[in-house]
């Protein structure tokens, strides 16, 4: 068989599926083999996704980039369930693999021993994520969503324990309801349009009669609620911090991208379905995203300040990040979208690193003591003994120094301070906000822009306060019963690697930003996407003449 690069499009789905399924045949005595298999599969995923990213971007001369459509079962579009690889999906695939490899290596330190089938669940989660990013079919999206969620249920509960079971119970119940909403939305949209292919839907939606349009809009609204629950928009987000804080560290690290799946789908579908509609930016859909996003930033900011443990703090940081992205989507401007994509990558990497780091820091701490320390500070209690003590220079242990450096880097990224990529991301969003694109002719800066700016900066300030407070407590003035955390090298290296990726993002900000701009442009003008999907020819069967010879 002749190898063609288009076949690699399905590899991000197949590799974790096969590797994950194979592991079911190994029992826990073969843990080393399992770990090797998982690492190999994830490395392969990383290589392939980077290759696909280059394939999509570097070889493209058209403004919209190269779009590859993979017809499953070689059925003609729009009947086929198709996988579509464009800029956005290639970027999300690469981000997933970039997060997955460090999280997996981190888990090899100790987490993968604390329960059965960690590797299988982890790989299936990757399969669900990759499939959701690749698919061009609404119902297929549901299937991949469910694969992802089912694996995530297992990963939340990995390691068991009272806290995880309690948080997992709420998480699963909420997500099951969200899945039903997803189905209702899909059914309504199918009922009106008679198709589930995303590109075909984009063609059919403008032709719908006025009476059907109302039904379609309610379908889209119900569908969005399912994604907004996933993305954590206020007031649908109360489950998120508790669940993410309770999940074991490597699971939480990969969950950082799970809330971005909701964002991804919203970004893709709203622009694909309603992007052509000139009323959309001022319509209720965009407004809900806009104000909901602002409320989410506000809620996340308050939560960040109020959280007493680092785990909950990281959970609320996810909300701040989601809120920023939702608001950016709601603004429906190409420049803002480009900045939001950069912010998505940067914040996801930072939050993922933070979740792993927190576990290492808290390993040495007495949980109750750290909660007490924050509370005591809030009420103005002073530890009297410390004041009388002579101040003696204490050598900072090496572990603490490394952990502290990583913590500071995470803080800089989340707050959005220069020099790391968090600053660039926020700067690009804000600068696009204050120089609206010439097409929209809106030269005056709206109150919304000011509100968004204020909230974005305030959320950074709140993060700064919360992180310096816990940083001081953890690294400079640890309480008496703190032990030195025992940290393995393979646990600190993944965190350093993730932070290294953000450093690369910072240094290579120019090329990366150009990519994001190309992605945003192709999202806001989806015609090439639609045409490419609808006009993809079926693959011709090459081997038939040979069979006849035989």
């Amino acid at each position: 068989m002749r190898f063609s690069p288009e076949h690699l499009v399905i590899a991000p789905v197949l590799i974790p599926l096969i590797a994950g399924a194979l592991q079911l045949f190994l029992d826990d005595r073969g843990r080393k083999l399992k770990a090797t298999l998982s690492v190999l599969a994830t490395v392969a995923l990383l290589i392939i996704s980077v290759w696909l990213l280059r394939f999509t971007y570097v070889n493209s001369h058209a403004s919209a980039g190269k779009i590859t459509v993979y017809l499953l079962g070689n059925w003609p579009p729009p009947f086929a369930i198709n996988l579509v690889l464009d800029h956005l999906s290639a970027m999300m695939l690469t981000l997933t693999a970039t997060l997955a490899l460090p999280a997996l290596i981190f888990s090899l330190g100790r987490w993968h021993k604390s329960g059965a089938h960690f590797h299988t669940l982890f790989l299936l989660l990757l399969m669900g994520l990759n499939g959701a990013f690749l698919t061009g079919d609404l119902f297929n999206l549901f299937v991949f969503f469910e694969i992802m969620l089912a694996a995530s249920y297992g990963l939340v509960l990995h390691g068991s324990g009272l806290l995880r079971v309690k948080a997992g119970l709420h998480y699963i119940a909420i997500n099951l309801v969200a899945s039903f909403l997803f189905l209702i939305g899909v059914a309504l949209i199918y009922g009106v349009t008679g198709t589930l292919n995303m590109a075909d839907l984009a063609l059919k939606i403008p032709q719908i009669s006025a009476s059907g349009y109302m039904l379609l809009e309610s379908g889209a609204a119900v569908l969005s609620v399912a994604f907004l629950i996933k993305a954590g928009m206020w007031p649908l987000s109360f489950w998120l911090p508790a669940t993410y804080a309770a999940a074991p560290a490597p699971s939480a690290a990969i969950f950082a991208i799970m809330s971005k799946v909701g964002i991804y789908v919203l970004l893709r579908l709203t622009l694909l379905f309603f992007g052509n509609n000139p009323d959309f930016p001022d319509g209720p859909g965009a407004q809900i995203l806009l104000y909901g996003g602002l409320a989410t930033i506000g809620f996340g900011t308050v939560g960040v300040l109020a959280s007493q443990t680092l785990g909950r703090f990281a959970g609320f940081s996810v909300l701040v990040s989601s809120g920023t992205l939702l608001t950016s989507i709601g603004l429906v401007q190409t420049g803002v979208t480009a900045g939001a994509l950069f912010y998505l990558v940067s914040s996801t990497l930072a939050i993922s690193a933070l979740f792993m780091l927190i576990e290492l820091i808290e390993r040495g701490q007495n949980m109750a003591a750290s909660v007490l320390a924050v509370t005591m500070e809030a009420f103005g209690y002073q530890d009297e003994e410390t004041e009388n003590e002579e101040i003696v220079g204490v050598a900072i242990p090496r572990t603490i120094a490394v952990l502290g450096t990583c913590f500071a880097a995470c803080a800089i990224l989340l707050i959005g301070l220069p020099p790391l990529s968090g600053f660039i991301a926020k700067f690009v969003i804000l600068s696009a906000l204050f120089s609206p694109d010439t097409a929209s002719q809106a030269t005056d800066i709206t109150a919304i822009s000011w509100g968004f700016t204020a909230l974005l900066i305030l959320s950074g300030l709140a993060t700064l306060i919360a992180m310096s407070r816990s940083g001081i407590h953890t690294f400079w003035a640890p309480s008496v019963d703190t032990m030195l955390p025992r940290v393995l090298l393979i646990e600190i290296l993944p965190i350093a690697a993730l932070l290294g990726v953000t450093l690369v993002l910072t240094i290579q900000a120019g090329p990366v930003m150009r990519f994001m701009e190309a992605t945003a442009t192709s999202l806001h003008a989806p015609h090439p996407y639609i045409e490419k999907v609808m006009n993809t020819p079926r693959a011709t069967v090459l081997s038939q003449p040979e069979e006849q010879v035989e």
Binding site: L157, V165, L169, A173, V186, G191, L196
Partner: protein, 114 residues
């Protein structure tokens, strides 16, 4: 037929939501079950209600779409049933684990203070 189906969906969904909001885990899972029936019936209804029409066409024959049932919603329901069944079974295990660990069947893991 339309009235019966819509009433059925409405009653199932209504009771499902009500049970879902109850404090006991057993009520929650029954609520989820009822809700999933309602959703499946709803998906079925978007394919239009027709009687005695096959969903499968003959190969090569002329097809008049008015005399055929829409097969897609039926396929969707099958998938939805399988996935719903698997996740509900998983949820049941969590319920048992929560009951064992917390010693109560309250969804918050502790009895409310009275």
């Amino acid at each position: 037929m339309e009235l019966i189906l819509s009433l059925g969906i409405g009653i199932l969904a209504g009771s499902g939501v009500w049970l879902l909001l109850r404090p006991r885990t057993y009520q929650v899972i029954i609520g989820l079950g009822l809700l999933s029936y309602a959703v499946n019936l709803f998906i079925f209804s978007v394919g239009r209600l027709v009687m005695n029409n096959p969903p499968v066409t003959q190969a090569g024959a002329q097809v008049d779409s008015a005399t055929f049932a829409d097969p897609v919603p039926q396929a969707l329901i099958l998938t939805a049933i399988v996935i719903g069944f698997a996740t509900t079974a998983l949820f049941l295990v969590i319920l048992l684990a929560a009951r064992g660990l917390t010693g109560t069947d309250h969804v918050d893991g502790k009895e409310p203070d009275r």
